[in-house]
């Protein structure tokens, strides 16, 4: 089962996790990305490419399902204005055993950072700036292509 959602609404982790657990998996892994306020950010705005975003996330979920034995992959990304403490992204993977769930969850967030059309704009008081891509994100995504698939 694949579920992809791109929405302005706050992310309800309880509902998302309950849905994943209903797949009958023995192992569920999840990642939650949260807006940091530690460097003076007062508002974070997420822009995206409607239509392409959803298909890019579905592609990533399908690649994860092809690579690991998963019962479920869920990717939920919030867009629009957010404040520190808000959830930006939630990923959950379900499998029979923990290794596939944990690896696929890490794979999805690493690939999402470089392979899905989102852009962050930070507001610090009156000043706004677009966030620059981090080279480390490409290295994190590249480690999954450097490895051969486990199967």
């Amino acid at each position: 089962m694949i579920r992809v959602s791109v929405d302005h609404a706050p992310i309800d982790i309880g509902t998302e996790l309950a849905g994943v657990e209903e797949t009958g998996a023995g192992a569920v892994a999840s990642f939650t990305g949260i807006v940091r306020g530690d460097d003076g950010v007062t508002c974070l705005e997420l822009e995206h490419y409607p239509g392409m975003t959803e298909s890019a996330l579905c592609d990533l979920a399908e690649q994860a399902l092809a690579r690991w034995s998963l019962l479920s992959a869920v990717i939920v990304h919030r867009v629009g204005p957010m404040t520190p403490g808000d959830r930006v992204v939630f990923i959950a993977t379900a499998a029979s055993h923990r290794q596939a769930a944990l690896e696929a969850c890490a794979y999805l967030i690493d690939r999402l950072k470089t392979d899905a059309p989102f852009w962050k704009r930070e507001q610090r008081g009156e000043a706004a700036s677009w966030v620059d891509a981090r080279p480390g994100d490409h290295q994190a995504a590249a480690r999954w292509t450097a490895q051969s698939a486990p199967d």
Partner: protein, 83 residues
């Protein structure tokens, strides 16, 4: 051809989308960006440095040297920063 712009590319151009009919000499995405620079000062500023631009053709990420072919929708934007 429908063009879409995102993030600071959109802000500098001053529009999120526009329709264009590029001449035949415009063969690749990079050619398109170069040709678009002549449309306004905002286009020129947004598209001057190709190393800061990324692109999608018909909603697929592509390198800038990709031929446009029969592309219906081309998007130009900065490197992505989601997650």
């Amino acid at each position: 051809m429908k063009l879409l712009y995102f993030a600071w590319v959109r802000e500098r151009i001053g529009a999120g989308e526009e329709q264009v009919d590029p001449p035949e000499a415009v063969r690749t995405v990079a050619d398109l960006a170069e040709w678009l620079r002549g449309r306004s000062a905002g286009h020129d500023e947004a598209l001057a440095d190709l190393t800061k631009l990324r692109a999608a053709v018909d909603q697929r990420f592509v390198p800038l040297d990709t031929p446009l072919g029969a592309a219906k929708e081309v998007a130009l934007f900065p490197p992505v920063t989601g997650g």
